[in-house]
Every structure is written in C-alpha cells, then in structure tokens.
C-alpha cells in the first residue's frame, strides 16, 4: 500500500470515476437490478473514500472489484434469506430462450452460488469471467501463485455448477 497525503487523496474521486462503470457492471451482474446496483456502487464509493484517506491500494481496480463483489453478495443475502427449498424450481437449460423473470432467477442463483465460495475464489471467478483477465494477470493482481489462481477458478466454477445442478432441463 502507498501512503498518500491529504492533498493527494483529493484525486480519490477521480480514480473512482474512472472505474465507476466497471463497479456498476460488477454489481449489476450479481444483483440484476439497477436500483440495487446503484446502492451497492454508492456504498463502494463511500468505502473507497474512507480507504483512500488512509492508504491508496496499489491496484485500485482490483480493490474496487473485490469490495464491489463482496458488497453485492451482502446485499443479495440481505434482500432474500437463503431458502434452498424455495429454490427447487426447475429452470430451463441455459441454451433455451429465457424470459426476463427466468433470467433474473438464474442470475440470482448464480450470484448466490458465487457468494457461497471463498473471497479469493469469488474474486478470481469475477475477474476471469467479467474482466477477461488471464490467470497470470489475476495472480499478479491478487499476489497469488498462478496454480493457486487456477485452483480457485475451478473450485468457484464447480461450486456454481453444483448450485445450478438440477435447475437445468434434462
């Protein structure tokens, strides 16, 4: 982490604005609703301001992604309590056309599955899926070994698969 003076922290808003679309996108992909995505994004912005007053992360984008994903997961859990029995409805296979309700339900199930894995696994999966980073780039950003990143990726993907199992048409 790099220490910055109070005057340098005034650039914190500018840094966030450069990544605000990405922050919003990560939040929306997990929450599926613009209103919730905006709430999550504003929460992340306030946390970014508080963080930047202490120390500025060396990789602001990675920091913002991690915090956004965690915040979106928290909002998702707060919005609806976990109820596996209520989630037993069958969903069509992903290749079939989905209406808006089905898309929202699938997105919710995927987000819940992502929320069930560890923070590191979650970060790797989001970075790989939605940011298109390579394993080497993710490893450098998260300060992990490349094999560890690949393991996290597979475990997160397996968790999502297992959570969605039975919801696809046979």
């Amino acid at each position: 982490m790099t220490l910055v003076t109070a005057s340098e922290s005034t650039d914190a808003v500018g840094v966030f604005k450069r990544h605000r679309q990405d922050v919003y996108g990560w939040a929306y992909r997990l929450l599926g609703r613009h209103h919730d995505a905006q709430d999550a994004s504003q929460d992340v912005f306030l946390r970014w301001l508080l963080q930047s007053r202490r120390t500025v992360p060396d990789n602001p984008r990675g920091w913002l992604r991690q915090v956004t994903v965690n915040r979106a997961i928290d909002l998702l859990r707060a919005r609806r309590p976990a109820d596996p029995a209520a989630d037993a409805a069958m969903l069509p296979a992903p290749s079939a056309e989905l209406d808006e309700t089905e898309r929202h339900e699938l997105r919710r199930d995927i987000a819940n599955a992502i929320g069930s894995v560890t923070q590191a696994q979650r970060g790797v999966l989001i970075a790989k899926m939605y940011d298109g980073l390579t394993f080497a780039q993710i490893a450098a950003e998260m300060e992990l070994a490349i094999p560890t990143v690949k393991t996290h990726y597979l475990r997160a993907l397996t968790a999502v698969r297992d959570a969605l199992a039975g919801r696809w048409a046979p």
């Binding site: 808003v13 919003y24 992909r29 613009h34 899926m129 939605y130 394993f135 690949k150």
Partner: protein, 170 residues
Amino acid sequence: MTHDQAQEMLADYLGGELDESQKQQFEAYLTGDPALAAEVDSLRRTLAAMRAIDEPVTAPVPWDGTPPARTDDPRASGADDRTVWKHGRMAVLLRYAAIIVFAFGAGFLANAGARGPGVTTPSSVVEPAPKNQDRARQWETRIAVAYAKQPGRSGLARSLVALARAAREP
C-alpha cells in the same frame, strides 16, 4: 497425454488460454476419458449459463459516482414548502438562532437579577458593578474553555455547544 496432465490443463482450457494445438490435444484426450469429458462438459455449460445472462451494463445517467443525496433533505423526496419549513435546513438554522437568542437572554436576565430588584442602571453607567464583572468574566471563561475543548467541529456547532455547557455548569 496423461490424466494428470489433462487435469493441469483443465483451467486453461475452460479459461480460453490454450493455443489451438494444445486445445486440440486436450480435446483428443477427452475422447478417451469419459469421466473427465463429462466434468468438462458440465463446467462448460456452467460458463455458458453465466455468459448467457451477461450483458453490457451502463450506469444510468445522471449517476456519476457522487455520494447519494442527504436523506434528511425533504426536497430530495419532493416535499412541499410547508414540509421544508418544518424539517428543512431553514428550520434547523432558525432553531440554532432561537437557541442563541435564548442563551444570551438567559445571561442578560441572570445579570439583571444579580443587580437586585428595584435597582436601575443609569444610562450613563458604562462599567458594570464589580460583582457583575466577576460573573461576566466567569461566563466568558466558561464559554472559552468549552469552545476550546471541541476540536474539529464547525464554528457554529462549537459556539452552541460551548453556550450549552457553560449554562449547565454550577
């Protein structure tokens, strides 16, 4: 290719990081390993499901990353003028002004009581009696001490709190 080698290539295959020859080599191996082929197929379908509901996301205008509006601002919720007068900033300022007037009025009355009933102060008298000078100096000291004990607050807030604390002291 061995099973272990194929397992090591699994993350790269799913993550799209194999070159064409490696990809063909991996897929050729899968034809002879049904268990691994099924695993790969289920994970590929999971990725497809996640991509199927993914879409370009743009933060709605005019949100630009600024903090949310004050929740105590009634105008933000479309309140009418009467509500604004009752709960808005003008009402807060008027309350502050009333407190200041009350505090000074209480101090004035305290000084008047100290002079005793029936005693009038000629308009030519400039210097207060010695007893009132001590009381005035006591007030000034109390207020100054209370004011100095509040670093970080606005001038108005410090003044009001200082007046309140000075009035509470015996």
